[in-house]
């Protein structure tokens, strides 16, 4: 098992280099001059522009810029962004906020998605199943920004149950409303996945055998249907954690959450290569770790899967 984990961690290196190189190149290839954009309508003296350009190494060729970025990264000095702020410090501000949001959203999806999915799957074709299926279809069909604004208006403004915007006061409580919005869409997928998996496993031979042994219905469901049904769901949830950590640009925008999505969006607008690539670097790590966790969980859920061979 240890060898497997080690091998997986070593795989990070080529993945990491590949993704950062690609993202760095795409930012480099963006049209427009980021320094000119900093000054808006004013035309700064050429000397100021040149100084700034050389300060951020924008006058260097692509390979040199990328090399300098790597060098900075390995000396744990991510450099400054175009406003002069250290990038490391701003990452340390945004990532915890997005992590909280992601965990809350993931918990909502996992708990409600699995619970509703199991009930729907056990009584396939029943009224609960039909209702939940139609509702989940609606949730999938409505775009996030519509859902976001409606929730903000109804629960934030009209009912006043939550703060309509998060702003600087990001904590578990204030992030709950955006987390619900963020979690709803994947909740629908988790629900459908669980439902399909449960209703398939219900007809498995070993479930019938379990009933024939004299086990009560709850024991059959908990012991023989649920665990076997969770295997595909766990895979989906793990992949989803990575996506959630990437920040939800739309949701964070609507609720003014100072998270990764917002930061990334602003950096893209300003063509700030170092900031974008720094965020992506962290995300690559998050993805790799999330996938590794999924694989380990997978082996725990299904003893037939062994990674040593």
């Amino acid at each position: 098992m240890l060898r497997f984990i080690l091998r997986r961690l070593l795989q990070v290196i080529p993945v990491f280099l590949g993704t950062t190189l690609l993202v760095y190149y795409m930012v480099f290839a963006l049209p427009g001059d980021p320094i000119a954009a900093l000054f808006g309508d004013r035309q700064p003296p050429q000397a100021v522009i040149d100084t700034l350009r050389s300060q951020y190494h924008l006058d260097e060729p692509f390979w040199v810029q990328y090399g300098l970025f790597l060098k900075n990264l390995f000396t744990f000095n991510l450099g400054n962004d175009f406003t002069g702020q250290p990038i490391a410090a701003s990452l340390a501000r945004v990532f915890p906020v997005t992590a909280m949001l992601a965990i809350e959203a993931l918990a909502i999806q996992a708990i409600f998605g699995v619970a509703f999915g199991v009930f729907a799957g056990l009584r396939r074709g029943g009224w609960f199943d039909s209702t939940v299926l139609v509702a989940s279809l609606v949730v999938i069909a409505v775009p996030t920004f519509v859902l976001g604004f409606v929730f903000q208006l109804v629960f934030g403004v009209q009912l006043g149950w939550a703060k309509p915007t998060v702003g600087a006061t990001a904590n578990w409580g204030t992030l709950l409303l955006p987390a619900v919005v963020l979690g709803l869409v994947s909740f629908a997928y988790v629900l459908r996945l669980t439902r399909a998996s449960v209703s398939e496993n219900m007809n498995a031979d070993y479930v019938r055998t379990a009933t024939a042994k004299g086990l009560s219905r709850p024991r059959v469901v908990m012991g023989h249907i649920l665990r076997n049904s969770l295997i595909p769901v766990v895979t989906y949830l793990g992949a989803n954690l990575g996506a959630l950590m990437g920040g939800a640009i739309v949701t964070e925008g609507i609720f003014n959450v100072p998270g990764v999505g917002n930061k990334l969006y602003q950096a893209v607008l300003r063509s700030e290569g170092p900031t974008i690539v720094s965020i992506v670097s962290v995300l690559v790590l998050v993805f790799v770790v999330a996938n590794l966790l999924v694989d380990l969980l997978y082996a725990w859920l299904d003893p037939r899967i062994r990674y040593d061979q």
Partner: protein
């Protein structure tokens, strides 16, 4: 009221009350096309300690009847009439709560397929333990081990900590038997308990089951498609056909003197009871002597296949970069004469399928030669190999897995012709029609898809596809093992007929010695990669030389039953 009187009468005359009594049972399934009656007017009585077998083909309602007796009908099925009396209590109308009490404690079950009936994610011990616990019995590690070792699992304490995938099929079935009998039920329902296992394992398991149920005084309701097995193991046999009980009675009596036409057909085609090779021409009623036994007068020593000292070694990984050699096939030599059938027999793991794969050039031999028509096949270049494949065609075991579900039947049979660029569209269509005629399927089958056909029909399609290229040799890898006895008999007859008409050579891979007797001229018995015995079918069956062959022959269910020759 009348049924109650009969019940009392029976009890009075013997002094013992029946344990299970099924009266006028009707079972209905709700399907998309309306209600379907799967079982009607079924009658059955099991006395305490008695073993009763229900025999029939798939779809006859035998499993459905058994499932109703433990209240486990699928959701769309229900008992629509009659009674199922367990000790006088009608369990057809019992509540689910009452059924949970009865299951395990009073009625145990041993299911059919040991591969799918244990939950893959729980340890064996846990699956035994929860049974004991649910039925209010002591369930400590020692109790679990005791239950497992009673079913003949050695080293039970350690085995209890293993997962199902670490068990062989036979061991899993032992685990399932231990679960079924763990709470000492009065009635055990055994639904084809050994049909997925090798014959020798099957025999051990059935022997053990018999001993255990005798000791415990358990009644057994045995469900099987194999009349020979039923007759050997049960006191009484009930024959079901299309949802009805067509005949029932004491086993030997029923076997020796079958009354119903269906029972007669079953007795005639039961592979374990038939004693002679199928004579295709005779089946057709043609009495021409050269068609009668094509195998009897082969062209002198025309060996189409010569296998010489064949070896196949696999490397087994043992972790940490180490590996050990495993000889799946070890020094096998035999010849196959043109126009005859040679069977390779053995249990799973004996290497028989590996030999077939090497002959088909799907695996490369580690050592040894395969001469096809005098040419060493290992020296064939890509183009020659392509031509070789035209002359040697396979038919595989699983007619469900070996046909592409997205291809219709026409495309399935036409594909080899297209691949080998034979004829044009019109002539290929003509050929496909001819092939369907040859395998006795209507030409309209062309437009259908595999999932619309039965197992037997699919295997006919597989045969038609194999015949498309006019091959000389057909390799049948367990080609009839997945089929019901009657269908199996039909397919075997078809193969014999095709051999007579087309002069085909068959290499038949099978674990079923009963099938061998029906189709083969020569037999090669394999054990653990080695050829242990070879000879003509008659000589091997009448005077087997090796202990292993004797064990295999003894394991054929019903082999020892004495039948008058006119029935067999």
């Amino acid at each position: 009221m009348t049924s109650l009187d009969i019940h009392i009468d029976e009890a009075d005359s013997t002094g013992i009350k029946p344990l299970l009594e099924i009266r006028d049972l009707a079972i209905t399934f709700k399907t998309g096309g309306g209600d379907v009656q799967a079982v009607r007017n079924a009658h059955l009585t099991i006395m305490p300690g008695e073993t009763v077998a229900i025999v029939g083909e798939s779809g006859s309602g035998k499993s459905t009847t058994a499932l109703a007796a433990i209240g486990l009908l699928p959701n769309n099925g229900r008992v629509s009439g009659g009674q199922i009396l367990l000790n006088g209590e009608d369990i057809a109308v019992a509540s689910e709560r009452r059924m949970i009490e009865l299951r395990g404690n009073s009625i145990g079950m041993v299911p059919q397929d040991p591969m799918s009936n244990l939950n893959p994610v729980w340890k064996i011990g846990q699956q035994v333990r929860e049974t004991l616990k649910a039925n209010g019995r002591p369930s400590g590690p020692d109790d679990v081990a005791k239950v497992l070792s009673q079913a003949g699992l050695p080293d039970a304490h350690r085995r209890a900590k293993q997962y199902p995938h670490e068990f062989s099929g036979g061991m899993r079935q032992r685990a399932l038997i231990s679960i079924g009998l763990s709470c000492q039920p009065r009635l055990l329902i055994a639904d084809e308990p050994t049909s997925a296992l090798d014959v020798t394992v099957q025999r051990q398991i059935l022997d053990h089951l018999e001993t255990m149920t005798k000791d415990l005084g358990t009644s057994v309701l045995l469900i099987t498609h194999d009349l020979g097995l039923a007759a050997e193991r049960a006191d009484k046999v009930v024959v079901m056909y299309q949802g009805r009980v067509v005949e029932s009675g004491p086993s030997l009596e029923l076997l020796r003197n079958p009354q119903h036409p269906y029972t007669r057909r079953l007795v005639e085609s039961a592979p374990s009871l038939a004693s002679r090779r199928i004579q295709a021409a005779k089946e057709q009623g043609i009495e021409t002597s050269d068609l009668l036994a094509p195998a009897a007068e082969p062209v002198a020593a025309d060996h189409i296949l010569k296998i010489q000292d064949l070896r196949k070694v696999y490397k087994l990984r043992q972790g940490m970069g180490k590996s050990s050699d495993f000889a799946a096939v070890d020094g096998v030599s035999f010849d196959v004469m043109r126009g005859t059938t040679t069977a390779i027999v053995g249990e799973s793991g004996s290497g028989k399928s590996t030999v077939a794969k090497m002959v088909l050039q799907l695996e490369k031999p580690t050592d040894g030669k395969i001469l096809f028509d005098g040419v060493d096949t290992s020296l064939l270049k890509a183009r020659e190999l392509f031509k070789f494949r035209r002359r040697v065609q396979p038919i595989f075991q699983d007619p469900y897995g070996s046909l592409d579900p997205m291809y219709n039947i026409f495309r399935t049979i036409e594909e080899p012709l297209r691949v080998h660029k034979i004829g044009d569209a019109a002539s290929r269509e003509k050929k496909v029609r001819e092939l369907l005629d040859q395998v006795a399927l209507p030409q309209s089958t062309m437009q259908r898809y595999p999932n619309e056909l039965s197992g037997g029909q699919r295997q006919r399609i597989a045969i038609a596809r194999a015949l498309a290229l006019d091959p000389e040799v057909i390799i049948c890898d367990e080609a009839v093992s997945a089929l019901d006895v009657l269908v199996q008999a039909q397919v075997l007859n078809l193969l014999a007929e095709l051999q007579a008409n087309l002069g085909l050579t068959y290499l038949f891979i099978t674990h079923d010695l009963a099938v061998v007797r029906q189709i083969a001229d020569h037999v090669c018995v394999m054990e653990k990669g080695k050829l242990v015995e070879t000879g003509s079918t008659d000589s091997v069956f009448e005077s087997p030389q090796q202990d292993y062959t004797k064990a295999l022959l003894n394991a054929i269910p019903g082999a020892k039953l004495m039948l008058p020759p006119e029935v067999a």
